[in-house]
């Protein structure tokens, strides 16, 4: 069952490709010429691995394609989305298991880099602990806006604007919310 579902999802992705190009999440429009990329890699965003005893380095693929976002290059003329207020279209319709995966995976939400939750190694203290988040009774509208773009509430916050920046999809935000509803 699971296998056929995955197969189906794969097939749909392939079908969707021609239609997704216009606003592709991996758009390279505006990518500066001195970005470290390797077109021969599956993920074009590359990093240099200094092979021992060699005068050249090997380019390896990063875990996520980062080309669509502003870099440090002076040739990069792109801006970033301004703080974006959004209306929450409830109810939460997400998969808590998938949400936990997003929450704890470096190339995805990586929420645990800054936030503590129980049962995960190597969490952070830059953001507040979310160990009992569900017990606090925060409205879904608030949680959604915090995940979509926390800058609306807190100017200068370090919390990434996951929705406004096209970092997580609408479904992924719902998945994270479903997981956070279990934190108590």
């Amino acid at each position: 069952m699971m296998r056929s579902a995955l197969f189906l999802a794969g097939g749909l992705t392939m079908l969707a490709v021609p239609f997704a190009v216009a606003d592709s999440p991996n758009s390279t429009a505006g990518l500066p010429g001195n970005a470290l990329i390797d077109e021969s890699l599956d993920v074009k965003t590359a990093w240099p691995y200094p092979t021992e005893g060699a005068g050249t380095y090997e380019l390896r693929a990063h875990g996520r394609d980062l080309r669509q976002w502003l870099s440090l290059s002076y040739e990069d003329r792109r801006g970033i989305p301004e703080p974006t207020e959004v209306a929450f279209e409830g109810p939460v319709n997400g998969d808590p298991e998938r949400g936990k995966e997003i929450f704890t995976t470096t190339a995805e939400g990586n929420c645990v880099a800054c936030h503590y939750v129980e049962g995960v190694a190597q969490t952070g203290t830059v953001g507040p602990s979310l160990a009992d988040y569900a017990a606090r009774g925060m409205p879904d509208e608030y949680t959604y806006q915090m995940l979509y773009d926390a800058r609306v509430f807190y100017e200068g916050t370090l919390m990434p604007p996951f929705g406004a920046f096209n970092n997580l999809t609408e479904q992924e935000i719902h998945d994270v919310m479903a997981y956070m509803a279990t934190l108590k």
Binding site: N34, G55, L72, Y74, I80, E82, A113, T123, G124
Partner: protein, 301 residues
Amino acid sequence: MKQKQIAVTGAAALALALSGAWIVQATADETVYREYQPMLDYGDDPHVSDDHTGTYKYWKDRAALDAAMVASQSDQWKTNWKFMDPPFDQSLHGGHLAEDRGAFLFAELNDNGAFAACLGAEDGDLTGLRATQYPQFNEELGRIMNLEMMIEHCAAEQGKTLKHGSYDNSAISVYVATHSNGMPIEIDVTEGELKKAYKRGQERFHLRTGRMNLACASCHTTTAGERLRGQALTTHYGDAAHWPTYRTKDELQSLQVRFTECNRNSGTQPLQLGADAYNDIEVFLNALSSGYEVAVPSARD
């Protein structure tokens, strides 16, 4: 892009960085919205003792680190990782192997003395070269050059490929830097091209980029001492004096190879080594290490 829009030049952007977010001018006729971490007051003539976290006193003298602090889970960050520098760390690690490799390659390249001369050594003497000459604005080449870029340039003149960021290039850099061990970094950013690079580097260090909208400064200014994915964040003062370093995950890294890793960890597309922005950040970080002694070969987790 509305009424609050203000078009400002790069210099004005720097002055305004205290306020955080505004519209910046990306080209002469185009404005875009970007955000900055609030700027620290770095001054025009920075010194390592200006460290904003107040921890300098704990890591000022690497030979006299407080062993209890080094062993403390909550306070270790205050030693700014200097317990993995010599002379505190006397263990044999991959950095020592790199130094040996660098010495071998250097001797091979410097058969007729031209390689050392190209790097700027007088009479073949490498003493102080790392501490007092790099990174530099090279008049002849018309650009900022760090030691690794110069090694690549000078090796090419000898017909050998040693790319900036490669193991062999960094190995020579470690070897050259050993001749500056114990010597404080001296870099004059009070005038000329290095002053401009220092100012530009500040701006880049505080610019928020990438999928997570984070600046270098997001992790190294207000959140120093906090934990990020289990690792304690430290000050960016005094952080340029131990490179290239041996990462214990088994990788010899030059400072700019580390920049590509910092970028990736914070969700920003890395740049090619030697990119102007990386060179400026390297000048900026060296300026924040002014007066701090070079110590190689070093290691870092």
